[in-house]
């Protein structure tokens, strides 16, 4: 499935084995699977629910195929050495998400409470917008190092994005979590975009400061303690994430940003002490805020005893707190799926009602595709993270390394926080499963994230320009990414 498009001139260089194959044809073949699998799933839902192949099958297949094709052609043209797995993985997840959203659209129960009905066409539109942003990144971001110039603008931008939901008249309070803004008929989750912009800021900032942070430290009990003045940045980020937690009452976003920062700080300085500090600070912050914030408290209670929360919700308990049966309903959905699941369209995940097709979409997969399906999905996510980390390893510049690990680390954390929340491993948070869940901001932002990772990996894998021939030079060993 692979081919080498390297021109022979690369092999004339004295630097051996640097001319990595571009693997564009591998990507194309994988993309074909990434389009065909969701199309079969789509047909499966139609057959299970209405006994016939859905009429939209052709247009859906063509739509997804077209988007994937555009993505592929743009990558082939503008980032020929980019990682071949990321685009097919994202396409497959996005396609399966569309199928699950369409499947929940068919539910009369969800239609009757306006939680579904026409979500799939909208999601397809968001996907198109996401691919468009992906194309923009591919075409206009010729080199990711350009982003370094915008370090402090990124900081300002990220802060604005994070604060937007708190602006009166703009922010939305959806079941206690204030992470949305409303513009016209669109609601946007700025946090999803802030994730990327913050990663750019952290990467730019840490690249400059990493030596100071790493070297100027005192040794204490086997740990390198940073100087007081170097503690500043981590304290600021910590404070911001605590503020997010308090004012937007969103544990997930808060954890995500702080976690991303700690990961990048650790990679930049190679100091384990930062991890210890990070863990301590997030524990203190989370416990501290949870001690007075009722929204977080209910989430924790629902996590500890989902059955009690279900019964409180059912009995219409009037203790001033919002009780939700979602957590228990999600667990039932997973349990009812069992090992192999009920099959597409044959489960009852609509019982989750609110946010069944967004935050809780994984429960639909759990019920209808079973343990096998969820394991496969989790491994798809793991592969995306793995390709991201590999890109970071292969990147030749510290900024690229930091940005790639920041983005893929944040991605991994998000998957963990959302999937863990829905599966009852940790308290629920208001974030969405990347690519699978219904929601424009999430899809668009994650396509941009994939775009940036592809750009970094293209730069990393692109054969180095042939140096002037030097007969004295020895053969240089190059670690193939």
């Amino acid at each position: 499935m692979s081919s080498t498009t390297n021109s022979p001139t690369h092999h004339t260089s004295t630097i051996g084995a640097i001319g990595a194959p571009s693997r564009r044809n591998t990507e194309l073949a994988l993309l074909a699977f990434a389009v065909v699998i969701p199309v079969f799933a789509y047909a499966n839902v139609g057959l299970a629910q209405h006994g016939e192949v859905p009429t939209g099958l052709l247009s859906y297949g063509l739509g997804l195929g077209l988007l994937a094709g555009v993505g592929h052609l743009v990558v082939r043209k503008f980032a020929p050495f980019a990682d071949p797995l990321l685009l097919p993985l994202a396409t497959l997840l996005n396609g399966l998400g569309l199928v699950a959203i369409w499947r929940l659209d068919q539910s009369e129960l969800l239609q009757s409470i306006h939680q579904a009905g026409n979500a799939a066409p909208r999601q397809l539109m968001y996907t198109a917008m996401g691919i468009a942003l992906f194309v923009v990144v591919m075409v206009f971001l010729k080199d990711h190092r350009v982003l370094q110039r915008y370090t402090y603008i990124s900081m300002a931008g990220a802060l604005v994005l994070l604060l937007l939901p708190l602006v009166p008249g703009l922010g939305l309070d959806v079941y206690g979590a204030k992470i949305w803004i409303q513009i016209g008929s669109f609601s946007i989750q700025p946090g999803e975009f802030a994730k990327i912009v913050l990663a750019i800021f952290f990467a730019g900032y840490l690249m400059v400061k990493r030596d100071a942070l790493a070297l100027a430290s005192r040794r204490f009990m086997g740990l390198y303690l940073p100087r007081g003045r170097d503690l500043g940045p981590i304290l600021v980020v910590w404070a911001i994430s605590i503020l997010i937690l308090v004012f937007e009452t969103d544990l997930g976003t808060s954890l995500l940003f702080f976690g991303m920062f700690v990961i990048m700080l650790y990679v930049a300085t190679e100091r384990t002490s930062w991890i210890v500090f990070g863990l301590l600070m997030s524990a203190v912050g989370a416990v501290g805020v949870a001690s007075f914030e009722p929204h977080i408290q209910t989430r924790v209670q629902a996590w500890l005893d989902p059955m009690r929360e279900y019964q409180l919700s059912r009995s219409g308990a009037t203790d001033g707190m919002v009780h939700s049966e979602q957590a228990m309903q999600a667990l039932w959905a997973f349990g009812s799926g069992g090992t192999l699941g009920t099959g597409w369209g044959q489960g009852h995940s609509e019982l989750i009602r609110f946010a069944a097709n967004s935050d809780f979409i994984l429960a639909t997969f759990g019920e209808e595709l079973g343990l096998a399906g969820i394991m496969a999905l989790l491994l798809l996510y793991a592969l995306i993270v793995e390709r991201g980390v590999r890109t970071a390893l292969a990147a030749r510049d510290p900024f690229g390394k930091l940005l790639a690990i920041g983005l893929s680390g944040a991605f991994a954390l998000q998957v963990f926080v959302v999937a863990g929340g829905v599966m009852g491993l940790i308290p629920l948070t208001g974030m969405t499963m990347p690519f699978l869940a219904y929601g424009g901001s999430s899809v668009i932002a994650n396509w941009a994230l994939i775009g940036i990772l592809l750009r970094i990996s293209d730069t990393a894998r692109r054969p180095a320009p042939a140096p002037a021939a030097n007969p004295d030079a020895e053969m240089t060993q190059v670690v193939r990414p």
């Binding site: 990679v267 667990l331 799926g337 759990g366 079973g370 394991m375 980390v389 390394k401 991994a412 963990f416």
Partner: protein, 490 residues
């Protein structure tokens, strides 16, 4: 920077591994618990997803199904629901299931593990899942006679009839009753119908299964148990032996004389005579002489103090264990604390009619797969041997005298040997409330074996107090039930 990168990679791997482990715990280890949790609406959705199998009496279904709106596709319907409710119980989209509908839910919905292989085959061949059937032991004609007899009477009451040789339950009626069809769905109308039937809204408590779940003082019908105890313990060896019974008789440890109903010849009466005219003094003294322990032993052998599972649970009948002599005397004539379900008294009668062997009562004969193949068949099972065959036959002849020329004359069937015993149990503070009229009886076929034993209890608020006697109110119902069974045999 590559070393920390590799560590972060391992960290991300651990995150994913944690998720994978959690998912395995959730969808493999906990899956069945979560899947079958009663609060999980999928359980109910599944229950009503396909037409439910039927409950069958005499080869005919007494149940059916209808389609409904919403996520529950089908609901249960019943034919002659009120008559059969004490047998079937109910299954309602809103209120769950009871009795046979609950106990055999797996077979009726087709979810039972024993149908797994068939279901898997059906899934592969694309056939829709169906429920299996529950075949009962009941006799439609006997049930009809029992229910209509009670309905004609108009008061509250219950009937239980058993085939003595096998323990098959032939009739199980309770009145007033309810039609479970009216609240089988999940609509508002179903909710209203349900509320109307609740005890707080209907003082007659139509949803109480009186044949199995209500205990009544058995009154004089309990004297057959006392007589069995007297014979088994060798107090008397025949029905013709004169008992050592003074009249009046003062209960030991008290100054109270135990009264008889009217001026009847009870002084030193034979057992046969004492049972024929229903002497309280004779049987009270027998109980007092035998003592609490022996009386309790005998009652236990007939099934008292234990819940019966037929397979529907019946309440435990009561005979107390720490009574003094006078209390034992009162208990031995079916008063004081003694209380029995109609099923229990039918079991007593059946054991006597079956020459002393009590068969375990049951009402589910067979569980069938959707293809009507038998999955499980109930075999008759001996439960205990309350009295010897010889003593049983003595008791039979005594009970036959009661019907031939005693208080049970209303149960006579021309050309058929019938044995029985009347009872009139007082209750309420100072006996202020209407007594319960009891009648227990059996009929004998030509070969001397008995095809039916029946117990009837009637609480008739409309009747004049004096009119209430087992012979007057309950015996005609018992007679028509026995006739229905006998006619079916011919």
């Amino acid at each position: 920077m590559n070393k920390p990168l590799r560590r972060i990679a391992i960290f991300c791997g651990l995150l994913v591994l944690t998720l994978l482990l959690r998912d395995n715990w959730l969808q493999y280890v906990q899956a069945d618990t979560l899947k079958n949790d009663e609060n999980n609406r999928r359980v109910a959705i599944e229950r009503y997803a396909s037409p439910r199998g039927d409950i069958i009496v005499d080869g005919k279904a007494i149940t059916g199904h209808a389609t409904t709106k919403g996520d529950f596709k089908y609901k249960r319907t019943y034919k002659d629901g009120a008559m059969w409710a004490p047998v079937t119980g109910y299954v309602s989209q809103a209120y769950g299931a009871t009795q046979i509908e609950a106990i055999n839910d797996g077979i009726l919905t087709g979810n039972d593990d024993r149908l797994f292989f068939r279901n898997t085959l059906d899934m592969l061949t694309g056939k829709k899942r169906e429920g299996g059937n529950v075949v009962t032991t009941l006799n439609a004609a006997a049930q009809k006679a029992a229910y209509e007899g009670l309905a004609k009477r108009g008061g509250k009451g219950a009937v239980a009839a058993i085939e003595p040789s096998t323990g098959k339950i032939l009739a199980l009626a309770s009145y007033p009753s309810y039609d479970p069809s009216v609240f089988a769905g999940g609509s508002n109308a179903d909710g209203e119908a349900w509320n109307k039937l609740q005890k707080k809204n209907d003082k007659n408590d139509p949803m109480l299964n009186r044949a199995l779940r209500e205990v009544y003082p058995p009154g004089s019908t309990f004297k057959v148990v006392t007589a069995a105890a007297a014979l088994e313990n060798g107090l008397y060896s025949s029905a013709e032996e004169k008992t050592d019974s003074p009249l009046p008789w003062t209960m030991p440890g008290t100054t109270t004389e135990l009264p008889n109903e009217g001026n009847i010849p009870c002084e030193d009466a034979t057992l046969r005579e004492a049972l024929r005219v229903s002497c309280n003094t004779v049987f009270g003294k027998i109980g007092s002489d035998l003592g609490n322990e022996k009386m309790l032993d005998q009652a236990k052998k007939f099934g008292f103090t234990e819940e019966q599972f037929v397979p529907v649970r019946s309440s435990a009948s009561v005979f107390s264990d720490d009574m003094n002599q006078s209390q034992t005397a009162l208990s031995s004539i079916g008063q004081f604390n003694t209380a029995a379900t109609p099923l229990q008294m039918a079991m007593v009668t059946a054991a006597i009619a079956n020459n002393g062997t009590l068969m375990k009562p049951y009402m589910v004969d067979e569980l069938q797969a959707p293809s009507v193949d038998t999955i499980e068949k109930t075999d008759p099972q001996e439960m205990s041997k309350p009295l010897s065959a010889q003593n049983a036959q003595i008791l039979q002849s005594m009970m036959e005298t009661v019907v031939k020329d005693g208080t049970g004359a209303n149960a006579q069937i021309p050309g058929v040997t019938v044995g029985g015993k009347t009872g009139t149990a007082q209750h309420g503070v100072d006996n202020s409330e209407n007594p319960y009229a009891w009648f227990i009886s059996y009929a004998k076929g030509a070969d001397g074996s008995s095809p039916v034993a029946v117990a009837v209890v009637v609480e008739d608020e409309a009747a004049v107090r004096d009119d209430i006697s087992g012979g007057g109110l309950a015996a005609p119902i018992a007679k028509s039930v026995m006739q229905a069974v006998l006619n079916g045999k011919r």
